[in-house]
């Protein structure tokens, strides 16, 4: 049985289609990332999985259960952290964690959990007096307070400073070792790349790629780049015949070679063979950012033309 199974999900609000067609399945114990720009349909997908929204068509299953029909059973095993959702503003951190703990049959020890998200020193402060990052950490704690078997985390490190972000990532890694399945929504490449076993890239309401981070990068067919500097004239015929090379560009003394396979070694050997002295030789492998750009046609954080996410 899959932890999460989404099949041909389609969600429309009036004439606006938020999700066109999303199918994915998350294995138990896996950390699965959904990556996409604001407004791509990430949160809508997650809210359908959480049972907050009813799909216009298509099906959603969490541990084999329908989040609407089997609501009470799903709620026991599903922990959800929603994007931009406030809590009782006049209650303290400790009061809130205890309140939410009381809703579940099984769950974490409130004080231990507060400690794990680094809020012990703030535990008697009211929600309204916490910083954005602290509110975010509390929100993550509440998603985990019922010891869920599946956790949905929507933009979990928004508003956190780099240190707090790493602390929360460590918490998610702990979840992995506890065997908890995590569906992680993010528009932070670093977060996705570090935590996720597999990633779905959503663009304009559709999944346009689904693979491991490494698989996405190699699947984007971007190849590698070798750059080096030469002094004096450079005859690119030295490199043209190499099977690994797909293109060579010379700009002044800067040479950029694109290709695949064992590109660096092959280029180095050819240069030695041709008595060319190259300096500052660098191998550049494409990363997830490059893959995202190649797959969607725009960079991840280029939000200029997208509307606010729901």
């Amino acid at each position: 049985m899959q932890a999460i199974e989404v099949n041909e999900l389609h969600k429309r609000y009036g004439s606006t289609v938020a999700v066109h067609d999303v199918s994915l399945s998350v294995r138990q114990g896996e950390i699965f990332g959904i990556l996409g720009r604001n407004g791509a349909g990430k949160s809508t997908t997650v809210e359908c999985v959480a049972g907050l929204l009813r799909p216009t068509s298509g099906t959603v299953r969490v541990l084999g259960l329908d989040p609407h029909r089997d609501r009470d059973r799903v709620r026991q095993v599903l922990g959800v952290q929603l994007q931009s959702s406030d809590l009782h503003n006049a209650l303290t951190v400790r009061e809130l964690v205890r309140l939410y703990r009381s809703f579940y049959g099984d769950g974490a020890d409130p004080d231990e959990l507060i400690d794990r998200v680094g809020l012990t020193s703030r535990r008697d402060h009211r929600f309204e007096n916490l910083s954005g990052g602290q509110q975010q950490r509390l929100s993550v704690a509440l998603a985990l307070v019922g010891n869920p078997r599946v956790a949905l985390l929507d933009e979990l490190t928004t508003g956190l400073d780099p240190q707090a972000r790493r602390d929360i990532w460590a918490l998610v890694e702990d979840l992995r070792s506890d065997g908890v399945t995590v569906l992680l929504v993010s528009h932070l490449m670093e977060e996705i790349e570090r935590l996720c076993d597999r990633i779905a890239i959503i663009d304009a309401g559709r999944i346009i790629a689904l693979d491991t981070p490494a698989g996405l990068v190699s699947g984007a067919g971007l190849g590698q780049r070798v750059r080096f500097q030469v002094n004096g004239p450079f005859d690119q015929a030295v490199l043209d015949r190499l099977p690994e090379v797909t293109s060579v560009r010379v700009e002044g003394g800067q040479v950029t070679v694109r290709g695949d396979g064992d590109l660096l070694q092959s280029v180095s050997r050819a240069l030695v063979h041709g008595n060319i002295i190259a300096t500052e030789t660098r191998l550049e492998r494409p990363n997830l950012d490059d893959a995202f750009l190649a797959l969607t046609g725009r960079a991840l954080n280029d939000d200029a033309t997208t509307e606010d996410s729901r």
Binding site: M1, R27, Q28, G29, E30, A50, G51, L52, L63, L65, D70, D72, R73, V74, R75, Q76, V77, L78, V80, L82, S84, S85, D86, L87, H88, N89, A90, L91, E95, R98, L99, Y100, S102, F103, Y104, G105, R126, L142, G146, G179, D197
Partner: protein, 262 residues
């Protein structure tokens, strides 16, 4: 990645009594920490009582077998005010805030049903009303020589109906108000409109006939009249009871139809 061969059976475990109590406690803290919100249902009626008390309203009404203005008019009015401010102004402002800020959405993804927050708010509102009324009654009895109602059971029954009616109007406000701020505004306007036509600022007899009649059959005026009758030991007019029942029914139906959880 391990695929466990034996899956623990997933069972629904609806939150028990402890969780309900935790939610009621949470709502009580929210209400108690909202000092400004507490001032109106507790402070305003006391102020009204003191103003009437020192202006010699304990004079006996002619032909009533020893009843005072305090008993027949002021106390019923004060009790109605407490219930109305809690139900029509305070409760909807909390509910609208919970909706707008996503508290209801957050609850909706836990085993606790968001509906229970409405119940918890209602419970806390009852407690708040009872405290406000107990304080006002104590003051009236101790300082201004008032007496308990001559038909105490009728008074309790009317009090319960008044709460239902006012909370239903409050739910209607929460359901129809687009934002938390507008819910406070709408609640206050409704409260003052019902209060003004229901005798809060002086006898309804001073109002134009039409307004006086409308005011009598809005829940505020009806509650004050019915409580006054219970105080005097007279029978409560059926129309006043029907008015309270009608407000309860209409408020609940509209709220059930239009209340948005997010």
């Amino acid at each position: 990645m391990t695929t466990p061969t034996t899956q623990p059976e997933i069972t629904a475990r609806p939150p028990g009594f402890g969780a309900w109590m935790a939610l009621v406690l949470a709502e009580s803290k929210m209400v108690m920490r909202d000092t400004a919100g507490l001032l109106i249902p507790i402070g305003l009626p006391m102020l009204l009582l003191v103003m009437h008390g020192i202006s010699m309203d304990n004079q006996v009404l002619p032909g009533t077998d020893g009843l005072t203005v305090m008993e027949v008019f002021v106390l019923p009015l004060v009790i109605t005010m407490v219930v109305a401010t809690v139900g029509v102004v305070n409760m909807p402002s909390f509910l609208s805030y919970y909706r707008r800020s996503g508290v209801l959405r957050r609850l909706a993804v836990t085993p606790m049903k968001p509906m229970m927050i409405l119940v918890a708010q209602a419970v806390v509102s009852v407690i708040q009303s009872v405290i406000g009324i107990a304080l006002a009654l104590t003051l009236a009895l101790a300082a201004f020589g008032g007496n308990l109602p001559r038909s105490p059971l009728v008074a309790l029954g009317v009090f319960a109906l008044t709460m239902f009616a006012m909370y239903a109007v409050g739910m209607l406000v929460a359901a129809l108000a687009p934002t938390a701020n507008s819910s406070v505004a709408i609640g206050l306007v409704l409260f003052f409109a019902m209060g003004a036509t229901g005798g809060m600022f002086g006898s309804r007899e001073a109002l134009p006939d039409l307004m006086a009649t409308i005011g009598e059959f809005l829940p505020f005026g009806a509650a004050a009249e019915a409580l006054g009758a219970a105080w005097a030991g007279q029978s409560v007019e059926t129309t006043h009871i029907l008015s309270l029942l009608g407000a309860t029914l209409i408020g609940s139906l509209v709220a059930a139809k239009f209340f948005r959880w997010q």
